[in-house]
C-alpha cells in the first residue's frame, strides 16, 4: 500500500515540497530502494542480471539520485496519490542501474527497461565484514554505559538524534558529539587492527605555473 493511502494532507504537503512530508515519504521507502541499489536485480523474462553498487559511496549516491529525481517539483505534481509509489521509485532505481551497465559498455535491450524485476538475494557476509564486526562488538563492549546505550538507540534501533536525545535526557548537540566520538574511536580501533583500508594513490600533483 502506498504511503499516501488515506493521507490526503500528506499528499498535499508532499506536492508543496514540505520538507517534513518529503522526509516521511523518504523514510517509508528508503530501505526498499537501498536493497535494489545494493543487491541489483534480475529480469526473469530475459534472464538479464544487473548488479548493484559495489561500494558504499556509490550506493549512497544512487539512493540520493532516485529520491532527488522522484522529488522534483514536476514529478511531485505529476503524481496522483493513487498509483503505487514504491513501484515508481523502484523503476527509477532500476533504470539508474541499467544506465550504469550501459555506460560500462554492456548492452541491455530497450524492452528490458519496462520488464518486471526480481531482487537479487543478499550475498553471504564477506570475511572482512565478519572480522570488522568482531572488532566493533569488542569496541562497543568497552564503551561507557551511556555510549553503549547511544549505539543501541542511534545505530541499532535507528532513532533520530532528537529521539535519542530525549531517551538519554541530553541535548541533540550532545548526541551529535558523542556519536561522532564513537565513530572516530571505532575507526581508530579498526585502523589499529589493520581493518581500515587506505585509498589508492592519487595522481601527480603539479605546482601551477611550473609546467
Amino acid at each position: 500500500m502506498t504511503v499516501f493511502a488515506g493521507e490526503r494532507s500528506l499528499l498535499d504537503a508532499f506536492r508543496r515540497g514540505d520538507r517534513a512530508a518529503l522526509a516521511t515519504v523518504y523514510y517509508h521507502y528508503v530501505d526498499d530502494i537501498a536493497a535494489i541499489v545494493r543487491h541489483g536485480f534480475s529480469i526473469p523474462s530475459s534472464g538479464v542480471r544487473v548488479r548493484g553498487a559495489t561500494d558504499e559511496a556509490t550506493e549512497r549516491d544512487l539512493i540520493q539520485e532516485v529520491f532527488a529525481r522522484a522529488f522534483t517539483p514536476r514529478a511531485r505534481d505529476a503524481y496522483d496519490g493513487i498509483r503505487p509509489y514504491g513501484a515508481y521509485l523502484r523503476r527509477i532505481a532500476k533504470n539508474l542501474l541499467i544506465d550504469r551497465v550501459r555506460t560500462a559498455g554492456r548492452d541491455i535491450s530497450l524492452e528490458d527497461d519496462d520488464a518486471d524485476i526480481a531482487l537479487e538475494a543478499e550475498p553471504p557476509e564477506p570475511a572482512e565484514w565478519v572480522e570488522q564486526r568482531r572488532e566493533t562488538a569488542a569496541y562497543v563492549a568497552s564503551l561507557a554505559p551511556v555510549l553503549r546505550q547511544l549505539v543501541k538507540l542511534r545505530f541499532e534501533d535507528e532513532l533520530s538524534q532528537d529521539q535519542a536525545a530525549e531517551a538519554l535526557g541530553v541535548s541533540r548537540r550532545r548526541v551529535r558529539t558523542l556519536e561522532a566520538r564513537i565513530q572516530k574511536g571505532l575507526r581508530k580501533v579498526l585502523r589499529r587492527a589493520g581493518l581500515w583500508q587506505e585509498d589508492r594513490p592519487a595522481p601527480a600533483l603539479v605546482r601551477m605555473g611550473t609546467r
Binding site: Y27, D55, T136, V140, A180, L186, P203, R211
Partner: protein, 186 residues
Amino acid sequence: MTEPSRLLAGRRGPSRVEKEAILDGVLARVAPRPRWGRRLAIGALAAAGAAIAMIVLQPSAPRDELTARGGALPDGFEVSCVPAPCSAGSKLVFDLAPTGDAAYFAAYARRDDALIWYFPSTAKGESRPVPRGGGVLDTGIVLGPEHAPGAYVIEGVFSSEPLDRAAIRTARAHGRTVVTRQVVVQ
C-alpha cells in the same frame, strides 16, 4: 571500506546516519530552505552585532565576521583542463569561489566505483587552503594513466578547518554539502 555506522548498526545496508545524510542531500536539491529566511537571519545578526559594537565601542570587530559567516550563497568551484580538451597529460585547474567562511578545499574524482583523490593528495594529508578571496588553486592535477578515458564526477568539499580523508568521508556521510562538476577525459 565499511562505513563505521554500518558496523555499529550490525547491518550491511545504509545506517540511520547515512540515510539522514542522503535525505539532506535530496532536500538540498529539491526543497532548499528559502534564502530570504537565511538572509533575514543574517541581517538580524549583523544588526545585533553592529548594535553591540556601538555600545561597547569596538567598531572594527563584528560586522565583517558576521557577514562572512552568513554564507548566503553556496561555495563553488570550476574545473578546467589545460590544454583542453581533457586528455592524458592535461592539467586539471581548480578555480575556487568560496562565499562563506570556507578556508580549505578537498576534491576527488569518482567514476563508477573508483575514487581518485586529488586533495588531500596523500592518505595522511589534509585539504588545501583556499586562496584568499578565492581564485585558482596553486596546485593542479596532471591527468595520468589513472584517468582512463571517460566521464568523471569531481566532488569538492569546502570546510573551515583542514580535513583528512577520513574526516571528509565522515563529513560527507553526515550531509556536508558537496559541490560536483563533471569532466570528460578523452
